[in-house]
């Protein structure tokens, strides 16, 4: 049997081009080359598969030129006719993880080629893509390569050979996709067993865990709001007119940080919404309808609040917890904290 063909995707760092300063390296195809982490995969493949090409792309380049980069890479992958496509592993590198997920998803959906990637469980890419593609958990640093490579390689072979894929527990990827199998007992009997366990107060495992409602305990109330610095944030996509940072209208892959020192209200000649999910007419007509700067300024003047923070943060997204939005909020929350903000008003559409 001939060897399975594998195309491997890595970022500029693992290609040895450079770190953050080289993150804008455009995508390139290197036919016949096995680079960096590819060596470890190659070792695990043995005679069963070979990496026929490696695609290298800078993380910033990918993030900023996502559509173009995806299209280009898809084209290359198609030419190489691989049996399986591997990206990363990305360990704890956030943008790299997101890129691995995005490119894998595109390859899978556009080319119908099986894909696998790997990353640290807390990498934002994991949450974003584990229900769409196979993502293997890795350590949080490249030191985890030697553990990750054999697992990913073995699984890639399985995918390439079109073998039946088992559950996340059996295969080792992160849970995210529902996989059918035949149980030993019929459903009604399993229900009775579960009921007996539940009645007896014994442990039981639900077969379908309801979506998680991860809760964070509320912080204490503001004791004196008239002394508090309050920041405005929104997921309603309010941006300066012209959307200078090109906040995407359909997916929240960026957040905007805008200075409103001296801005007394948000007027239609200076601000607008980048949100694509609802009729923008009302928000564009008077952006205060989404981000109430006018009212906050009045309250500030009247001494009803201490101060309106001089920056606001904006994302687009319909309020549902998009993993990327989560990551950006976590990022700007740290900035707010560092700037001494006492409380936040978050508005959503």
């Amino acid at each position: 049997m001939s060897k399975l063909r594998v195309v491997h995707y890595i970022n500029q760092f693992f290609a040895g081009i450079g770190g953050e300063e080289k993150a804008d390296t455009p995508a390139e195809l290197r036919v016949g080359e096995v680079i960096g982490p590819g060596m470890a995969l190659k070792a695990s493949f043995g005679e069963e598969a070979e990496i026929v090409a490696t695609i290298v792309c800078g993380d910033s380049y990918f993030a900023e030129n996502m559509d173009k980069a995806k299209e280009q890479i898809i084209g290359w992958v198609k030419e190489q006719k691989p049996d399986v496509f591997i990206a990363g592993p990305a360990f704890n590198a956030g943008r790299y993880g997101t890129a691995c997920g995005a490119i894998c998803e595109a390859v899978q959906n556009k080319l119908n080629i099986p894909v696998v990637t790997g990353m640290y469980i807390e990498n934002p890419g994991a949450d974003m893509y584990k229900n769409k593609i196979y993502v293997f958990p890795t350590k949080d640093s490249a030191a985890g390569m030697k553990d990750a490579a054999p697992l990913m390689a073995k699984f890639a072979l399985k995918l390439g050979k079109k073998e039946k894929i088992g559950s996340s527990k059996e295969e080792g990827f992160m849970p995210g996709k529902r996989i059918n199998f035949f149980a030993e007992k019929r459903g009604s009997e399993r229900a009775v067993d579960m009921l007996l366990a539940k009645i007896a107060g014994k442990p039981f495992e639900t077969e379908y865990p309801m979506p998680e409602f991860d809760k964070v305990a509320p912080n204490p109330e503001i004791k004196d709001i008239t002394k508090a610095t309050i920041a405005l944030c929104t997921s309603g996509g309010i941006v300066p007119k012209g959307n200078p940072d090109h906040i995407e209208s359909s997916n929240a892959l960026k957040y905007g940080e805008y200075d409103i020192t001296g801005v007394m209200e948000l007027t239609s000649d200076k601000y607008e919404t980048a949100h694509g999910g609802y009729d923008p007419v009302y928000a564009n007509e008077r952006p205060d309808r989404v981000l109430p700067v006018d009212v906050m300024r009045d309250l500030e003047k009247e001494g009803k609040i201490g101060k309106l923070h001089n920056k606001f943060y904006t994302t687009v997204g319909n309020g549902t917890a998009v993993a990327s939005a989560k990551k950006y909020a976590a990022e700007y929350a740290q900035k707010l904290k560092a700037d001494g903000v006492d409380a936040v008003i978050m508005t959503s559409t």
Binding site: F213, V281, V290, G317, G319
Partner: protein, 77 residues
């Protein structure tokens, strides 16, 4: 997103139209707003009236920030 801000240790009030979503995304202090395309406004009102409405909502939000809560609370009164 509100959860991440809360996690960072900053009290946050979520002003949104679809409070059930707000509840599922884990906001603790929630103030319901007017409508999806104009959460803090109502184009049917004249400018002054509309601002009054907005102020009313923002004051509700401030009130929520001043209120001790143990879990998720929708401030819809």
């Amino acid at each position: 997103m509100v959860k991440e801000i809360e996690r960072a240790g900053i009290p946050v009030v979520h002003m949104c139209t679809i409070t059930p979503i707000s509840l599922t995304v884990g906001a603790n202090r929630i103030v319901p707003t007017i409508a999806i395309p104009h959460p803090l406004g109502n184009p049917a009102l004249d400018k002054a009236e509309e601002k009054k409405l907005r102020r009313h909502l923002v004051e509700k939000a401030l009130k929520a920030l001043e209120t001790h809560v143990d879990g998720q609370v929708v401030f819809d009164k």
